[in-house]
Symmetry: C2
Subunit: 323 residues, 2 copies
DNA sequence: TCAAAAGTGTTATCCTTACACCCATGT
DNA sequence: ACATGGGTGTAAGGATAACACTTTTGA
């Protein structure tokens, strides 16, 4: 017990930042703002103020002021507070940054001055595997392997190789979509991502495979959001927070594929969704979209009453056995 | 855009609090501290300081100072910051509270002055269903049903009933272990839990079914931790962070049962664990524990290299279908 | 000999995945 | 006619969950 310690409380600024996500069959997008011309874009955000009753209320008021977007589902993601990484210019003051994920139904133009919608894979090219592994990612992976090989001791090298396997699936087979943050952190540590080099001039390097950077740690928050969303669609029917009131099976599938960054098997996807009772038919059909007209669907909210965790298949014993 | 708004930044205190969890076959427990005699217990915690490089580092230093416990796995849970709920005495200053979950292997006595281990179901009696639904919970559920019926409009009543179904499984059938926080929040809103009545004298009410309260919002943080842990054991092998180096199948099973608050089927549990390659035999057997001696097991870390998400069975198409 | 715990075998069932195939519409 | 998307059937394989049963120890 070091009683001699200074115990100097930090003066903190708390910033509330929102990943506002929308999705169309073409792909998901995020609402970004750009404060000055040449600077990288960022997320809508603002400091916590005294008259905000709750953190979420504060976030909502900031977002609605900055983007005039009404938010639907909102959830907290994570609180970042590393002393070194938050400040862009090298300021020593501590900046806590609380990230939120918000889902909105329509990506309405909303390009009010500085705010604009951007496909989120511009910032994360390596996360989009809908058309297989992007070839541009080869370079990334090569650099990662080099980075792992260049570690100090054998123990550290092994650790890094394991991480490459667990995140990018390099040594192993599997690509786990959810691990977006882990992959971004790895690229950050390996110095591959632009944000890692603070002093470097913006736009100095090829933004191809590394993705477009964002201000301060906003890309890290976006990575958290994508990962959370990818994980959550599997056990909660939140995709429907992103869908219009009526949609077809394929539109739903394309939206999910966009979020997860992978392709799905069409017939099975239909049945999965239908069997779970997630949707019901509206009775109408689309004004044809290329082929045979499709039946229109809507979300069936009663599913929440019937199966409390739609999509979840976890070790749930039907009856408890005493032994 | 209200430009006339005050934009007065809040002066915030950031408190780092840790749920330090251990588990034995008898059940899980949490490390608590008690500052003054009559006051309810709380979690080890302390303010964020300027010399803490990261939030997690700050937490670790506080905990090790207060409890002389070394922490293993640590993860951030959630940041609470409601203006009204944080302050116990009614202080208006904003207190942010960042909750963490830490797992330790042995619940060593460690009763250093104020710190002591407590079974976590003392604070959450309704969460322990290992011996079926506790009868004391009947009273809780009755009060919840009353609360739902006493809502203003029909719409609100319906909403409340739905929540009772989704959390306590009242109207419906299912009890979802993970939803610990949702259940606690419901009890809080219904005024059933002691923390909801701030001004009430401590110990004034029967702590039977309502569980033992904690200071400020620490019980909320504990609820978050339990929920997180219950969710995570299903797709990550973190139970082993809580197990001793060698253990038997039954010890592992009892530990998991304690965490999840439900009983499991023994033969199937063995096979599940064995088939997944989560453990390997040490070659030794126990100094008998009541019956036939059991083979000792240890965690098999290679499982992380082989199957990146042990326990996870989610819609993972083995190959991408083009259509 | 019995209680208590350790183990093994087996089966019915469900879910997932993959494959094959037909239907309806526009160009 | 053919391309595009809509939509159905079904069978193989794997994972679950339940049941029945044998084995090994200590008291």
């Amino acid at each position: 017990m070091k009683q001699t310690k200074s115990h100097r409380r930090d003066t903190v600024t708390v910033e509330l930042s929102a990943v506002i996500a929308a999705a169309s069959p073409a792909g998901p997008s995020v609402l970004t703002v750009r404060h000055s011309g040449g600077a990288p874009s960022g997320l809508p955000s603002g400091p916590l103020e005294a008259d905000h009753r709750t953190l979420e209320a504060g976030l909502r008021s900031w977002v609605e002021e900055q983007t005039s977007q009404r938010l639907g589902h909102v959830e907290q993601l994570y609180t970042f507070g590393d002393r070194d990484r938050a400040a862009a210019g090298g300021l020593a003051a501590r900046a806590l940054s609380i990230g939120y994920l918000a889902l909105v139904r329509e990506a309405r133009p909303a390009d009010s001055a500085a705010a604009s919608w951007q496909g989120w894979y511009r910032h994360f090219p390596w996360e989009d595997r809908r058309d297989g592994r992007p070839t541009a990612v080869d370079r990334l992976e090569r650099r990662l392997v080099e980075w792992a090989a260049g570690a100090a001791g054998e123990a550290e090298r092994r650790l890094r190789r394991d991480r490459l396997g667990a995140t990018f699936g390099i040594g192993t087979d599997g690509w786990i979509e959810d691990r977006v943050l882990e992959r971004y952190e790895l690229l950050y540590e390996a110095g591959i991502v632009a944000e890692a080099a603070r002093g470097a001039p913006a736009g100095a390097r090829d933004p191809g495979a590394e993705g477009e950077p964002m201000v301060t740690d906003h890309r890290r928050i976006l990575a958290t959001a994508i990962g959370r969303l990818r994980g959550k669609i599997k056990y909660r029917p939140i995709v429907f927070e992103l869908m219009p009131p009526a949609f077809t099976f394929l539109q739903l599938q394309r939206t999910v594929e966009g979020l997860a960054g992978v392709r799905l098997h069409k017939p099975n996807f239909r049945r999965l969704v239908a069997q779970q009772g997630l949707v019901e038919e509206t009775g109408e059909v689309t004004p044809e979209t290329g082929g045979r007209p499709a039946r229109l669907l809507r979300f069936r909210p009663d599913v929440l009453r019937e199966r409390p965790a739609p999509g979840l298949r976890l070790p749930r014993p039907r009856a408890a056995a005493p032994d």
